[in-house]
Symmetry: C2
Protein backbone atom coordinates (compact mmCIF):
# COMPACT_ATOMS: atom_id res chain seq x y z
CA UNK A 1 0.00 0.00 0.00
CA UNK A 2 1.51 3.31 -1.08
CA UNK A 3 2.01 5.95 1.67
CA UNK A 4 0.53 9.31 0.72
CA UNK A 5 0.16 12.68 2.40
CA UNK A 6 -2.75 15.11 2.44
CA UNK A 7 -1.94 18.80 1.97
CA UNK A 8 -4.39 21.68 2.52
CA UNK A 9 -3.47 25.19 1.38
CA UNK A 10 -5.94 27.46 3.12
CA UNK A 11 -6.29 30.86 1.44
CA UNK A 12 -8.62 33.80 1.96
CA UNK A 13 -10.68 32.80 -1.11
CA UNK A 14 -9.92 29.15 -1.92
CA UNK A 15 -8.99 25.96 -0.16
CA UNK A 16 -6.55 24.02 -2.32
CA UNK A 17 -6.48 20.38 -1.27
CA UNK A 18 -4.48 17.50 -2.58
CA UNK A 19 -2.76 14.18 -2.13
CA UNK A 20 0.97 13.87 -2.75
CA UNK A 21 3.46 11.06 -2.53
CA UNK A 22 6.90 11.32 -0.90
CA UNK A 23 8.37 12.52 -4.21
CA UNK A 24 5.96 15.45 -4.43
CA UNK A 25 3.86 13.88 -7.16
CA UNK A 26 0.29 15.22 -6.95
CA UNK A 27 -2.23 12.35 -7.11
CA UNK A 28 -5.44 14.32 -6.47
CA UNK A 29 -6.12 18.04 -6.44
CA UNK A 30 -9.19 20.20 -5.75
CA UNK A 31 -9.96 23.87 -5.28
CA UNK A 32 -13.06 24.81 -3.27
CA UNK A 33 -14.27 28.10 -1.74
CA UNK A 34 -13.04 29.03 1.76
CA UNK A 35 -16.11 31.13 2.65
CA UNK A 36 -14.30 32.69 5.59
CA UNK A 37 -17.04 35.28 5.96
CA UNK A 38 -19.24 32.51 7.38
CA UNK A 39 -17.13 31.96 10.48
CA UNK A 40 -14.49 29.62 11.84
CA UNK A 41 -16.72 26.54 12.29
CA UNK A 42 -17.98 26.79 8.73
CA UNK A 43 -14.45 27.02 7.31
CA UNK A 44 -13.40 24.06 9.46
CA UNK A 45 -16.32 22.12 7.96
CA UNK A 46 -15.18 23.09 4.44
CA UNK A 47 -11.65 21.92 5.20
CA UNK A 48 -12.99 18.67 6.65
CA UNK A 49 -15.15 18.08 3.57
CA UNK A 50 -12.07 18.49 1.38
CA UNK A 51 -10.12 16.05 3.55
CA UNK A 52 -12.96 13.54 3.52
CA UNK A 53 -13.00 13.61 -0.28
CA UNK A 54 -9.22 13.00 -0.35
CA UNK A 55 -9.62 10.05 2.02
CA UNK A 56 -12.15 8.60 -0.42
CA UNK A 57 -9.72 9.13 -3.31
CA UNK A 58 -6.97 7.47 -1.29
CA UNK A 59 -9.18 4.51 -0.40
CA UNK A 60 -10.31 3.90 -3.95
CA UNK A 61 -6.68 3.96 -5.15
CA UNK A 62 -5.37 1.74 -2.36
CA UNK A 63 -3.25 4.52 -0.78
CA UNK A 64 -2.54 4.77 2.97
CA UNK A 65 -2.93 8.32 4.37
CA UNK A 66 0.10 9.03 6.57
CA UNK A 67 -0.73 12.55 7.71
CA UNK A 68 -2.66 15.74 7.12
CA UNK A 69 -0.82 19.06 6.77
CA UNK A 70 -2.37 22.54 6.71
CA UNK A 71 -0.78 25.67 5.23
CA UNK A 72 -2.38 28.77 6.80
CA UNK A 73 -1.64 32.47 6.27
CA UNK A 74 -0.72 34.53 9.34
CA UNK A 75 0.97 33.99 12.68
CA UNK A 76 0.83 30.29 13.50
CA UNK A 77 1.86 28.42 16.65
CA UNK A 78 2.68 25.15 14.94
CA UNK A 79 3.86 23.43 18.13
CA UNK A 80 0.46 23.92 19.76
CA UNK A 81 -1.52 23.74 16.53
CA UNK A 82 -3.13 27.14 16.96
CA UNK A 83 -3.68 30.02 14.54
CA UNK A 84 -2.68 32.97 16.74
CA UNK A 85 -3.70 35.66 14.25
CA UNK A 86 -4.62 35.53 10.58
CA UNK A 87 -6.05 38.77 9.19
CA UNK A 88 -6.39 37.05 5.84
CA UNK A 89 -8.99 34.52 6.97
CA UNK A 90 -10.03 36.48 10.08
CA UNK A 91 -9.02 33.81 12.59
CA UNK A 92 -7.66 34.73 16.03
CA UNK A 93 -6.75 32.07 18.57
CA UNK A 94 -8.24 29.13 16.64
CA UNK A 95 -7.05 25.63 17.78
CA UNK A 96 -7.48 24.29 14.24
CA UNK A 97 -5.14 21.29 14.65
CA UNK A 98 -7.31 19.92 17.48
CA UNK A 99 -10.52 20.68 15.54
CA UNK A 100 -9.32 18.73 12.50
CA UNK A 101 -7.66 15.92 14.48
CA UNK A 102 -10.92 15.27 16.38
CA UNK A 103 -12.68 14.62 13.07
CA UNK A 104 -10.06 12.25 11.61
CA UNK A 105 -9.01 10.06 14.52
CA UNK A 106 -5.46 8.84 14.68
CA UNK A 107 -3.95 10.49 11.61
CA UNK A 108 -1.27 13.06 12.58
CA UNK A 109 -2.27 16.67 11.80
CA UNK A 110 0.35 19.44 11.38
CA UNK A 111 -0.13 23.15 10.71
CA UNK A 112 2.31 25.79 9.51
CA UNK A 113 2.49 29.31 8.14
CA UNK A 114 1.82 29.47 4.38
CA UNK A 115 5.14 31.08 3.41
CA UNK A 116 7.00 28.36 5.33
CA UNK A 117 4.97 25.64 3.61
CA UNK A 118 5.68 27.12 0.18
CA UNK A 119 9.40 27.24 1.08
CA UNK A 120 9.35 23.59 2.11
CA UNK A 121 7.54 22.58 -1.07
CA UNK A 122 10.05 24.47 -3.21
CA UNK A 123 13.09 23.11 -1.35
CA UNK A 124 12.00 19.49 -1.48
CA UNK A 125 10.34 19.31 -4.88
CA UNK A 126 11.96 22.10 -6.93
CA UNK A 127 14.53 19.79 -8.47
CA UNK A 128 15.11 16.10 -9.03
CA UNK A 129 16.98 15.57 -5.77
CA UNK A 130 15.33 16.62 -2.52
CA UNK A 131 17.10 19.68 -1.21
CA UNK A 132 17.02 19.48 2.58
CA UNK A 133 18.93 22.68 3.39
CA UNK A 134 17.71 25.74 1.53
CA UNK A 135 16.91 29.40 2.09
CA UNK A 136 14.02 30.97 0.16
CA UNK A 137 13.44 34.65 -0.36
CA UNK A 138 10.22 36.13 -1.71
CA UNK A 139 10.91 39.41 -3.49
CA UNK A 140 7.48 41.01 -3.28
CA UNK A 141 5.84 43.75 -1.25
CA UNK A 142 8.45 42.91 1.38
CA UNK A 143 11.20 40.30 1.40
CA UNK A 144 9.70 37.19 2.97
CA UNK A 145 11.75 34.13 3.73
CA UNK A 146 11.75 30.51 4.69
CA UNK A 147 14.61 28.47 6.11
CA UNK A 148 14.67 24.71 5.56
CA UNK A 149 17.12 22.77 7.72
CA UNK A 150 17.39 19.02 7.40
CA UNK A 151 14.08 18.86 5.51
CA UNK A 152 12.20 20.75 8.22
CA UNK A 153 11.04 24.35 8.52
CA UNK A 154 13.13 26.42 10.91
CA UNK A 155 11.31 29.42 12.31
CA UNK A 156 13.13 30.26 15.54
CA UNK A 157 11.99 30.89 19.07
CA UNK A 158 8.18 31.27 19.13
CA UNK A 159 8.28 31.41 15.31
CA UNK A 160 9.74 34.93 15.41
CA UNK A 161 12.79 34.04 13.29
CA UNK A 162 13.49 33.33 9.63
CA UNK A 163 13.28 37.06 8.97
CA UNK A 164 16.10 36.94 6.46
CA UNK A 165 14.73 40.11 4.82
CA UNK A 166 15.93 41.89 7.94
CA UNK A 167 19.63 41.23 7.57
CA UNK A 168 21.28 44.66 7.77
CA UNK A 169 23.09 45.37 4.49
CA UNK A 170 23.62 49.14 4.85
CA UNK A 171 23.95 50.06 8.56
CA UNK A 172 23.41 53.74 7.93
CA UNK A 173 20.85 53.12 5.19
CA UNK A 174 17.12 53.54 4.77
CA UNK A 175 14.66 53.17 7.65
CA UNK A 176 12.81 49.84 7.59
CA UNK A 177 9.25 49.06 8.68
CA UNK A 178 10.71 46.71 11.33
CA UNK A 179 12.11 49.69 13.20
CA UNK A 180 15.67 49.00 12.09
CA UNK A 181 17.78 50.63 9.41
CA UNK A 182 19.33 49.33 6.19
CA UNK A 183 17.56 45.94 6.11
CA UNK A 184 17.78 43.86 2.92
CA UNK A 185 14.01 44.32 2.50
CA UNK A 186 14.35 48.10 2.08
CA UNK A 187 16.57 47.52 -0.99
CA UNK A 188 15.52 44.18 -2.45
CA UNK A 189 11.71 44.11 -2.25
CA UNK A 190 9.62 44.78 -5.36
CA UNK A 191 8.35 47.83 -3.47
CA UNK A 192 11.89 49.20 -3.17
CA UNK A 193 12.58 48.53 -6.85
CA UNK A 194 9.38 50.32 -7.95
CA UNK A 195 10.10 53.26 -5.63
CA UNK A 196 13.62 53.59 -7.03
CA UNK A 197 12.31 53.45 -10.61
CA UNK A 198 9.69 56.13 -9.96
CA UNK A 199 12.22 58.41 -8.24
CA UNK A 200 14.63 58.04 -11.16
CA UNK A 201 12.01 58.86 -13.80
CA UNK A 202 10.95 61.91 -11.83
CA UNK A 203 14.55 63.08 -11.48
CA UNK A 204 15.52 62.26 -15.09
CA UNK A 205 12.57 63.00 -17.42
CA UNK A 206 14.91 62.14 -20.34
CA UNK A 207 14.85 58.49 -19.26
CA UNK A 208 13.13 56.26 -21.82
CA UNK A 209 11.19 54.76 -18.93
CA UNK A 210 9.18 58.02 -18.76
CA UNK A 211 7.02 56.77 -21.65
CA UNK A 212 5.52 54.10 -19.35
CA UNK A 213 3.76 56.76 -17.29
CA UNK A 214 4.48 57.27 -13.57
CA UNK A 215 1.41 55.37 -12.38
CA UNK A 216 2.12 52.36 -14.57
CA UNK A 217 5.72 51.85 -13.43
CA UNK A 218 6.11 48.46 -11.74
CA UNK A 219 8.80 45.98 -10.72
CA UNK A 220 9.35 44.98 -14.37
CA UNK A 221 9.94 48.48 -15.79
CA UNK A 222 13.65 48.87 -15.02
CA UNK A 223 14.36 45.30 -16.20
CA UNK A 224 12.38 45.91 -19.43
CA UNK A 225 14.39 49.05 -20.28
CA UNK A 226 17.79 48.07 -18.95
CA UNK A 227 19.34 47.41 -22.38
CA UNK A 228 18.28 50.65 -24.00
CA UNK A 229 18.25 53.15 -21.10
CA UNK A 230 21.26 53.93 -18.92
CA UNK A 231 19.07 54.98 -15.97
CA UNK A 232 17.21 51.66 -16.07
CA UNK A 233 20.52 49.80 -16.32
CA UNK A 234 21.82 51.65 -13.25
CA UNK A 235 18.69 50.78 -11.24
CA UNK A 236 18.97 47.09 -12.13
CA UNK A 237 22.70 47.05 -11.36
CA UNK A 238 22.16 48.66 -7.94
CA UNK A 239 19.23 46.32 -7.19
CA UNK A 240 21.31 43.23 -7.98
CA UNK A 241 24.34 44.58 -6.10
CA UNK A 242 22.25 45.16 -2.97
CA UNK A 243 20.49 41.81 -3.22
CA UNK A 244 23.84 40.08 -3.66
CA UNK A 245 25.15 41.55 -0.38
CA UNK A 246 22.32 39.76 1.43
CA UNK A 247 22.75 36.55 -0.56
CA UNK A 248 26.50 36.37 0.14
CA UNK A 249 25.80 36.65 3.88
CA UNK A 250 23.11 33.94 3.59
CA UNK A 251 25.49 31.68 1.66
CA UNK A 252 28.26 32.15 4.25
CA UNK A 253 25.93 31.50 7.19
CA UNK A 254 24.01 28.51 5.81
CA UNK A 255 26.03 27.15 2.86
CA UNK A 256 22.63 25.91 1.66
CA UNK A 257 22.12 23.54 -1.27
CA UNK A 258 20.39 26.45 -3.03
CA UNK A 259 19.02 29.92 -2.47
CA UNK A 260 15.57 30.01 -4.08
CA UNK A 261 13.99 33.29 -5.17
CA UNK A 262 10.24 33.74 -5.47
CA UNK A 263 7.81 36.64 -5.69
CA UNK A 264 7.26 39.15 -8.48
CA UNK A 265 10.87 40.13 -9.14
CA UNK A 266 11.90 36.47 -9.49
CA UNK A 267 9.85 36.36 -12.73
CA UNK A 268 12.94 37.98 -14.32
CA UNK A 269 14.57 34.55 -14.20
CA UNK A 270 18.05 34.38 -15.69
CA UNK A 271 18.34 38.22 -15.95
CA UNK A 272 18.31 38.18 -12.17
CA UNK A 273 19.96 34.87 -11.27
CA UNK A 274 22.73 35.12 -13.90
CA UNK A 275 24.54 38.11 -12.37
CA UNK A 276 23.73 36.96 -8.82
CA UNK A 277 25.33 33.58 -9.47
CA UNK A 278 28.42 35.24 -10.91
CA UNK A 279 28.75 37.44 -7.81
CA UNK A 280 28.30 34.53 -5.40
CA UNK A 281 30.85 32.43 -7.26
CA UNK A 282 33.41 35.20 -6.74
CA UNK A 283 32.60 36.38 -3.27
CA UNK A 284 31.40 33.67 -0.89
CA UNK A 285 33.82 32.04 1.52
CA UNK A 286 35.61 28.94 0.18
CA UNK A 287 34.38 30.12 -3.22
CA UNK A 288 36.63 27.70 -5.08
CA UNK A 289 37.13 24.78 -2.67
CA UNK A 290 33.63 24.56 -1.18
CA UNK A 291 30.32 23.49 -2.73
CA UNK A 292 28.53 26.00 -4.93
CA UNK A 293 25.45 27.84 -3.70
CA UNK A 294 23.23 28.12 -6.79
CA UNK A 295 20.70 30.95 -6.85
CA UNK A 296 17.58 29.71 -8.64
CA UNK A 297 14.00 30.82 -9.15
CA UNK A 298 11.00 29.12 -7.62
CA UNK A 299 9.35 26.68 -10.04
CA UNK A 300 6.99 24.43 -8.09
CA UNK A 301 3.31 24.69 -8.91
CA UNK A 302 1.20 24.29 -5.77
CA UNK A 303 4.28 24.64 -3.54
CA UNK A 304 2.03 25.58 -0.60
CA UNK A 305 -0.14 22.47 -0.82
CA UNK A 306 2.91 20.24 -1.38
CA UNK A 307 4.76 21.85 1.52
CA UNK A 308 1.73 21.25 3.75
CA UNK A 309 1.69 17.60 2.68
CA UNK A 310 5.45 17.39 3.36
CA UNK A 311 5.00 18.52 6.99
CA UNK A 312 4.33 14.86 7.83
CA UNK A 313 7.05 13.33 5.66
CA UNK A 314 10.07 11.73 7.35
CA UNK A 315 13.55 12.08 5.84
CA UNK B 1 21.28 1.75 34.89
CA UNK B 2 22.13 5.39 34.21
CA UNK B 3 22.85 6.28 30.56
CA UNK B 4 26.14 8.14 30.17
CA UNK B 5 28.11 9.55 27.23
CA UNK B 6 31.86 9.53 26.58
CA UNK B 7 33.40 12.75 25.27
CA UNK B 8 36.94 13.08 23.91
CA UNK B 9 38.40 16.54 23.26
CA UNK B 10 41.45 15.93 21.10
CA UNK B 11 43.92 18.81 21.17
CA UNK B 12 47.44 19.29 19.81
CA UNK B 13 48.95 18.74 23.27
CA UNK B 14 46.37 17.00 25.45
CA UNK B 15 43.50 14.55 25.14
CA UNK B 16 40.75 15.57 27.53
CA UNK B 17 38.44 12.63 28.14
CA UNK B 18 35.36 12.36 30.27
CA UNK B 19 32.00 10.85 31.05
CA UNK B 20 28.91 13.08 31.17
CA UNK B 21 25.25 12.46 31.83
CA UNK B 22 22.41 13.93 29.74
CA UNK B 23 22.40 17.05 31.94
CA UNK B 24 26.06 17.77 31.23
CA UNK B 25 27.25 16.68 34.66
CA UNK B 26 30.86 15.43 34.41
CA UNK B 27 31.22 12.09 36.18
CA UNK B 28 34.86 11.31 35.25
CA UNK B 29 37.55 13.48 33.69
CA UNK B 30 41.13 12.92 32.61
CA UNK B 31 43.82 14.80 30.74
CA UNK B 32 46.56 12.79 29.02
CA UNK B 33 49.21 13.71 26.41
CA UNK B 34 48.25 13.52 22.73
CA UNK B 35 51.79 12.83 21.48
CA UNK B 36 50.80 13.66 17.93
CA UNK B 37 54.47 13.72 16.89
CA UNK B 38 54.43 9.91 17.17
CA UNK B 39 51.96 9.39 14.33
CA UNK B 40 48.29 8.69 13.74
CA UNK B 41 48.25 5.10 15.02
CA UNK B 42 49.93 6.09 18.25
CA UNK B 43 47.42 8.91 18.87
CA UNK B 44 44.55 6.52 18.10
CA UNK B 45 46.01 4.15 20.72
CA UNK B 46 46.16 7.01 23.24
CA UNK B 47 42.53 7.91 22.52
CA UNK B 48 41.53 4.24 22.86
CA UNK B 49 43.37 3.94 26.18
CA UNK B 50 41.44 6.97 27.46
CA UNK B 51 38.15 5.46 26.31
CA UNK B 52 39.00 2.10 27.88
CA UNK B 53 39.62 3.78 31.21
CA UNK B 54 36.25 5.56 30.97
CA UNK B 55 34.51 2.27 30.20
CA UNK B 56 36.07 0.87 33.40
CA UNK B 57 34.84 3.91 35.35
CA UNK B 58 31.37 3.46 33.86
CA UNK B 59 31.31 -0.24 34.72
CA UNK B 60 32.40 0.25 38.32
CA UNK B 61 29.69 2.89 38.79
CA UNK B 62 26.95 0.90 37.06
CA UNK B 63 26.62 3.34 34.13
CA UNK B 64 25.64 2.29 30.58
CA UNK B 65 27.81 3.89 27.85
CA UNK B 66 25.46 5.17 25.14
CA UNK B 67 27.97 6.65 22.71
CA UNK B 68 31.46 7.98 22.14
CA UNK B 69 31.95 11.49 20.72
CA UNK B 70 35.22 13.03 19.50
CA UNK B 71 35.95 16.75 19.21
CA UNK B 72 38.80 17.28 16.73
CA UNK B 73 40.43 20.51 15.47
CA UNK B 74 40.41 21.13 11.72
CA UNK B 75 38.27 20.27 8.74
CA UNK B 76 36.13 17.26 9.63
CA UNK B 77 33.76 15.20 7.48
CA UNK B 78 31.46 14.16 10.30
CA UNK B 79 29.05 12.25 8.03
CA UNK B 80 31.84 9.92 6.90
CA UNK B 81 33.79 10.07 10.14
CA UNK B 82 36.99 11.31 8.53
CA UNK B 83 39.46 14.03 9.50
CA UNK B 84 40.05 15.70 6.14
CA UNK B 85 42.78 18.07 7.33
CA UNK B 86 43.96 19.04 10.79
CA UNK B 87 47.18 21.04 10.84
CA UNK B 88 46.95 21.14 14.61
CA UNK B 89 47.42 17.39 15.10
CA UNK B 90 48.96 16.80 11.65
CA UNK B 91 46.22 14.44 10.43
CA UNK B 92 45.16 14.35 6.77
CA UNK B 93 42.52 11.93 5.52
CA UNK B 94 42.29 9.89 8.72
CA UNK B 95 39.16 7.64 9.05
CA UNK B 96 39.24 7.99 12.84
CA UNK B 97 35.57 7.09 13.41
CA UNK B 98 36.10 3.67 11.85
CA UNK B 99 39.41 3.20 13.71
CA UNK B 100 37.76 3.87 17.09
CA UNK B 101 34.52 2.03 16.28
CA UNK B 102 36.50 -1.13 15.40
CA UNK B 103 37.98 -1.15 18.88
CA UNK B 104 34.72 -0.65 20.80
CA UNK B 105 32.19 -2.81 19.01
CA UNK B 106 28.60 -1.70 18.84
CA UNK B 107 28.80 1.64 20.65
CA UNK B 108 28.00 4.55 18.23
CA UNK B 109 31.00 6.81 17.52
CA UNK B 110 30.56 10.41 16.29
CA UNK B 111 33.17 12.99 15.35
CA UNK B 112 32.92 16.76 14.89
CA UNK B 113 35.02 19.89 14.56
CA UNK B 114 36.18 21.24 17.93
CA UNK B 115 34.57 24.69 17.58
CA UNK B 116 31.24 23.05 16.78
CA UNK B 117 31.54 20.74 19.79
CA UNK B 118 32.33 23.68 22.08
CA UNK B 119 29.30 25.51 20.68
CA UNK B 120 27.07 22.50 21.35
CA UNK B 121 28.42 22.14 24.89
CA UNK B 122 27.79 25.85 25.60
CA UNK B 123 24.30 25.83 24.08
CA UNK B 124 23.10 22.76 25.94
CA UNK B 125 24.83 23.15 29.28
CA UNK B 126 25.45 26.90 29.66
CA UNK B 127 22.26 27.45 31.64
CA UNK B 128 19.75 25.50 33.67
CA UNK B 129 17.48 24.79 30.74
CA UNK B 130 18.92 23.14 27.63
CA UNK B 131 19.06 25.72 24.87
CA UNK B 132 18.45 23.88 21.61
CA UNK B 133 18.64 26.84 19.20
CA UNK B 134 21.67 29.06 19.69
CA UNK B 135 24.33 30.88 17.72
CA UNK B 136 27.83 31.14 19.19
CA UNK B 137 30.50 33.59 18.14
CA UNK B 138 34.14 33.36 19.19
CA UNK B 139 35.74 36.79 19.21
CA UNK B 140 39.39 35.83 18.85
CA UNK B 141 41.98 35.90 16.09
CA UNK B 142 39.00 35.70 13.74
CA UNK B 143 35.29 35.45 14.43
CA UNK B 144 34.47 31.76 14.63
CA UNK B 145 30.95 30.49 14.98
CA UNK B 146 28.73 27.56 15.72
CA UNK B 147 25.05 27.18 14.90
CA UNK B 148 22.91 24.84 17.01
CA UNK B 149 19.50 23.98 15.57
CA UNK B 150 17.19 21.67 17.46
CA UNK B 151 20.02 20.48 19.70
CA UNK B 152 22.23 19.52 16.75
CA UNK B 153 25.19 21.20 15.09
CA UNK B 154 24.33 22.81 11.74
CA UNK B 155 27.32 23.23 9.48
CA UNK B 156 25.86 23.46 5.97
CA UNK B 157 26.63 21.72 2.73
CA UNK B 158 29.89 19.76 3.08
CA UNK B 159 30.46 21.57 6.40
CA UNK B 160 31.30 24.80 4.57
CA UNK B 161 28.64 26.85 6.37
CA UNK B 162 28.21 28.37 9.83
CA UNK B 163 30.64 31.11 8.83
CA UNK B 164 28.68 33.75 10.70
CA UNK B 165 31.85 35.86 10.97
CA UNK B 166 31.45 36.42 7.24
CA UNK B 167 28.15 38.27 7.31
CA UNK B 168 28.79 41.49 5.39
CA UNK B 169 28.22 44.46 7.73
CA UNK B 170 29.93 47.21 5.69
CA UNK B 171 29.64 46.42 1.94
CA UNK B 172 32.31 48.94 0.99
CA UNK B 173 34.38 48.22 4.09
CA UNK B 174 37.70 46.54 4.84
CA UNK B 175 39.04 43.60 2.80
CA UNK B 176 38.60 40.27 4.57
CA UNK B 177 40.86 37.21 4.46
CA UNK B 178 37.92 35.28 2.92
CA UNK B 179 38.27 37.34 -0.25
CA UNK B 180 35.16 39.40 0.49
CA UNK B 181 34.81 42.89 1.87
CA UNK B 182 33.30 44.29 5.06
CA UNK B 183 32.75 40.98 6.87
CA UNK B 184 31.85 41.06 10.57
CA UNK B 185 35.20 39.37 11.29
CA UNK B 186 37.17 42.35 9.98
CA UNK B 187 35.51 44.58 12.62
CA UNK B 188 34.63 42.31 15.54
CA UNK B 189 37.63 39.97 15.95
CA UNK B 190 40.15 40.57 18.73
CA UNK B 191 42.65 41.12 15.91
CA UNK B 192 40.57 43.99 14.53
CA UNK B 193 40.17 45.52 17.99
CA UNK B 194 43.93 45.38 18.66
CA UNK B 195 44.71 46.81 15.23
CA UNK B 196 42.28 49.71 15.81
CA UNK B 197 43.79 50.39 19.24
CA UNK B 198 47.36 50.44 17.89
CA UNK B 199 46.38 52.74 15.03
CA UNK B 200 44.66 55.14 17.41
CA UNK B 201 47.63 55.33 19.79
CA UNK B 202 49.96 55.99 16.87
CA UNK B 203 47.69 58.73 15.54
CA UNK B 204 46.98 60.28 18.96
CA UNK B 205 50.11 60.09 21.13
CA UNK B 206 48.18 62.11 23.77
CA UNK B 207 45.93 59.07 24.39
CA UNK B 208 46.42 57.66 27.88
CA UNK B 209 46.67 54.24 26.24
CA UNK B 210 50.14 55.26 24.98
CA UNK B 211 51.58 54.39 28.41
CA UNK B 212 50.91 50.70 27.75
CA UNK B 213 53.54 50.63 24.99
CA UNK B 214 52.72 49.78 21.39
CA UNK B 215 53.91 46.17 21.61
CA UNK B 216 51.89 45.46 24.76
CA UNK B 217 48.56 46.69 23.42
CA UNK B 218 46.04 43.86 23.34
CA UNK B 219 42.30 43.26 23.10
CA UNK B 220 41.82 44.46 26.70
CA UNK B 221 43.57 47.84 26.35
CA UNK B 222 40.71 49.93 24.95
CA UNK B 223 38.26 48.38 27.45
CA UNK B 224 40.68 49.05 30.35
CA UNK B 225 41.03 52.74 29.46
CA UNK B 226 37.52 53.46 28.19
CA UNK B 227 36.42 55.38 31.29
CA UNK B 228 39.39 57.71 31.48
CA UNK B 229 40.42 58.15 27.83
CA UNK B 230 38.15 59.50 25.11
CA UNK B 231 40.04 57.68 22.34
CA UNK B 232 39.63 54.35 24.15
CA UNK B 233 35.93 55.08 24.69
CA UNK B 234 35.49 55.79 20.96
CA UNK B 235 37.20 52.50 20.01
CA UNK B 236 35.00 50.49 22.36
CA UNK B 237 31.86 52.29 21.15
CA UNK B 238 32.72 51.61 17.50
CA UNK B 239 33.61 47.98 18.26
CA UNK B 240 30.28 47.38 20.01
CA UNK B 241 28.33 49.25 17.29
CA UNK B 242 29.88 47.08 14.58
CA UNK B 243 29.41 43.85 16.52
CA UNK B 244 25.77 44.79 17.16
CA UNK B 245 25.08 45.13 13.41
CA UNK B 246 26.05 41.48 12.99
CA UNK B 247 24.15 40.36 16.10
CA UNK B 248 20.94 42.09 15.01
CA UNK B 249 21.10 40.24 11.67
CA UNK B 250 21.75 36.95 13.49
CA UNK B 251 18.81 37.60 15.85
CA UNK B 252 16.48 38.39 12.93
CA UNK B 253 17.54 35.32 10.96
CA UNK B 254 17.56 32.75 13.76
CA UNK B 255 15.58 34.25 16.67
CA UNK B 256 17.78 31.97 18.78
CA UNK B 257 17.26 31.31 22.48
CA UNK B 258 20.58 33.07 23.04
CA UNK B 259 23.62 34.45 21.24
CA UNK B 260 26.65 33.23 23.14
CA UNK B 261 29.99 35.07 22.91
CA UNK B 262 33.30 33.34 23.54
CA UNK B 263 36.96 34.07 22.84
CA UNK B 264 39.27 36.69 24.31
CA UNK B 265 37.03 39.74 23.92
CA UNK B 266 34.14 37.95 25.68
CA UNK B 267 36.20 38.10 28.90
CA UNK B 268 34.90 41.69 29.14
CA UNK B 269 31.59 40.20 30.29
CA UNK B 270 28.92 42.73 31.18
CA UNK B 271 30.93 45.66 29.71
CA UNK B 272 30.38 43.98 26.37
CA UNK B 273 27.02 42.24 26.77
CA UNK B 274 25.32 45.14 28.58
CA UNK B 275 25.37 47.61 25.66
CA UNK B 276 24.82 44.79 23.12
CA UNK B 277 21.67 43.65 24.93
CA UNK B 278 20.38 47.22 25.05
CA UNK B 279 20.92 47.58 21.29
CA UNK B 280 19.25 44.26 20.48
CA UNK B 281 16.27 45.09 22.70
CA UNK B 282 15.73 48.25 20.63
CA UNK B 283 16.54 47.08 17.13
CA UNK B 284 15.59 43.50 16.37
CA UNK B 285 12.34 42.71 14.58
CA UNK B 286 9.30 42.18 16.86
CA UNK B 287 11.49 43.78 19.55
CA UNK B 288 8.58 44.20 21.94
CA UNK B 289 6.14 41.43 20.98
CA UNK B 290 8.59 38.62 20.26
CA UNK B 291 10.85 36.64 22.59
CA UNK B 292 14.08 38.30 23.71
CA UNK B 293 17.43 37.25 22.28
CA UNK B 294 19.82 37.50 25.23
CA UNK B 295 23.51 38.03 24.43
CA UNK B 296 25.55 36.17 27.03
CA UNK B 297 29.14 35.10 27.53
CA UNK B 298 30.36 31.52 27.36
CA UNK B 299 30.63 29.94 30.81
CA UNK B 300 30.94 26.17 30.40
CA UNK B 301 34.16 24.57 31.59
CA UNK B 302 35.18 21.71 29.28
CA UNK B 303 32.57 22.75 26.68
CA UNK B 304 34.51 20.83 23.98
CA UNK B 305 34.49 17.53 25.88
CA UNK B 306 30.82 17.99 26.89
CA UNK B 307 29.83 18.91 23.32
CA UNK B 308 31.61 15.78 22.06
CA UNK B 309 29.67 13.71 24.59
CA UNK B 310 26.44 15.42 23.52
CA UNK B 311 26.92 14.37 19.88
CA UNK B 312 25.23 11.09 20.83
CA UNK B 313 22.47 12.54 23.01
CA UNK B 314 18.89 12.45 21.78
CA UNK B 315 16.51 15.36 22.46
Amino acid sequence: MKDIYIGIDLGGTFIKSGIADADGKILSFYETPTECGQGVEHVAENISAAITRLFEDAKSNGFAVTGIGLSIPGFIDSANGTVIASDNIRWYGVPIKKMIAERFGNIPVSIENDANCAALGEALFGSGEKRKNCVLLTLGTGVGSGIIINGKIYSGNRSAGAEVGHIIIHPRGKKCTCGGRGCLETYASATALICETKKTVKKHPDSLMAEVGADKIDGKTAFDYREKDKYAAAIVKKYIDDLSIGLISIANIFRPEAIILGGGVAKQGESLTGPLNRKLKESIIYAHSGPEVPVICATVKEAGMLGAAALNMQF
